[in-house]
Symmetry: C2
Subunit: 262 residues, 2 copies
DNA sequence: TTTGGCGATCTTGCATACAAGTTCGCCGCC
DNA sequence: GGCGGCGAACTTGTATGCAAGATCGCCAAA
């Protein structure tokens, strides 16, 4: 394999480009905890590991820096970024602000009947789940919740807003469904789903009635639910390290100080 | 120059990397109107034009796509992005939302005395300018206004918020000082500066008193001033095409419809 | 023992050769 | 005359060679 063989010799041709493969694999490696924050991402070891040449590796690294998972060193090269608890809290608050703007736009500009029906349909499905507490239900909830939020952003009709939200969502633990699957094993977790669902219902109503300000502030509060989740998970050590991206954070369940900080 | 000479032969070594030079030059070319929206940015012609090889050109193009000035084609390659009036209005509104969040953070979390003094100092300098209407004053205003806003964002203390604002500010005509220099030649332009200055003063006061909500909404309204500017400039054709990034927009002063749209 | 300088090695930046995919135009056929 | 297919030119994706720069450790001198 060390010969000048072109990429036609690659084993499991996945259909995508080398750069895309490198990007997906690298993101997976980073989020799975294969690298810790501060670790240098040297190109040659990655070439060996990923089985592609330096060019796509370099392009993938550059993209991951844009995404915010890597940080560029002054003298060249990249390291895995570190996320403090303050970063996560800021990102969550910011997500609330942006999602709030999305639903305000949707309310002020008027929602398409079709979109509202889609929201209602997802919401109805969620309604049946929140009264169950098995793992399967939590897993389904993650998917439905994702669809709900994606629909909301789409309804805002602003590609720039969507981009801004993607920037914010890159922060580990700041996404809307970051903890849901982890919570499945914790007590009181079902109640959070009940609250979230009630906020979803209120959001739909506010958008229907074109109550922009109300929609905006419900969405903000809705995002803050993730902070409650964070605290809940932090109180029950042992589950935290299974959340993707944990290795990039400085959240240390061993240090009580972390719970009191800020 | 066609020989295998390395980049040591480059004429005016500017101290920066080839990639950085390509990035700066490309952004300048795009914003100056050298390329129109939809124009394909092929690598080889750019190699010729910029005097660097494909590798830094490619990296610069990727960065410009991330910035939002270019759009990636499905089959590879990039084209200059198009910005509609709706894009500009959304970006401006979004800038208001994000700057509003910045000043809310600054107010809620408490501002450092030093930062408040800096704001006051810049504000005092601006106060003297707004009563003059010469070009020199407008030019100085642009710099001072930039410092004022940069300080506000810094005071929020969130690097993610800063990143999100950079994404939004990449949209041509959406930045805080996009039109100021152009306005200098227009009537009524001085009044806008007076209004902007009064909003600056109110912002400082709100942050000092830790009135987060008030600060947030002043900042939103402050951003909307740019929309007034946009309409003012659109009403006076002939100055519009001197604003950087004009060629990327579909703002056509010839079509009255543009003034009435949305 | 500590510190400063020097050298080797590792790492990235850049250029370029080559290959694959895409697009466009032309020619032949219907 | 129109349409379809084929081929050539162009464009991007990928790999790799080379050189400059950074980093780190080691050795010598104070």
């Amino acid at each position: 394999m060390t010969a000048s063989a072109t990429h036609t010799a690659s084993a499991t041709e996945h259909g995508t480009s080398q750069t895309m493969r490198a990007l997906l694999r690298l993101r997976e490696l980073i989020l799975s905890g294969e690298f810790g924050h501060g670790d240098r991402m040297s190109e040659l070891p990655l070439v060996e590991r990923l089985g592609v040449s330096r060019t796509p590796v370099r392009l993938a690294l550059a993209k991951l820096e844009h995404e915010g998972l890597l940080r560029a060193l002054p003298g060249g090269g990249y390291v895995v970024r570190e996320f403090t608890r303050a970063d996560i809290e800021d990102a969550t608050e910011l997500r609330g602000v942006l999602e709030g703007t999305a639903v305000r736009f949707a309310a002020e500009r008027g929602a398409a009947r079709r979109d509202l029906r889609a929201l209602q349909a997802v919401s109805d499905e969620i309604a049946e789940l929140v009264h169950q507490a098995d793992y399967e239900s939590f897993a389904r909830y993650v998917g439905l919740n994702g669809r709900f939020h994606a629909t909301l952003v789409k309804m805002a009709g602003s590609s720039l807003l969507q981009r801004a939200l993607e920037v914010v969502a890159a922060v580990p633990f700041a996404s809307a469904t970051a903890f849901v699957l982890t919570e499945a094993e914790l007590p009181d977790s079902r109640e959070i789903l009940v609250i979230a669902h009630s906020q979803h219902l209120a959001l739909i109503e506010a958008i229907e009635r074109r109550e922009g300000a109300r929609a905006e502030y419900i969405a903000r509060e809705h995002a803050r639910l993730a902070l409650t989740n964070l605290e809940l998970v932090l109180r029950h050590r042992g589950v935290l390290n299974r959340v993707p991206g944990y290795s990039m954070t400085t959240l240390d369940p061993g240090r009580e100080a972390d719970l009191l900080r800020r």
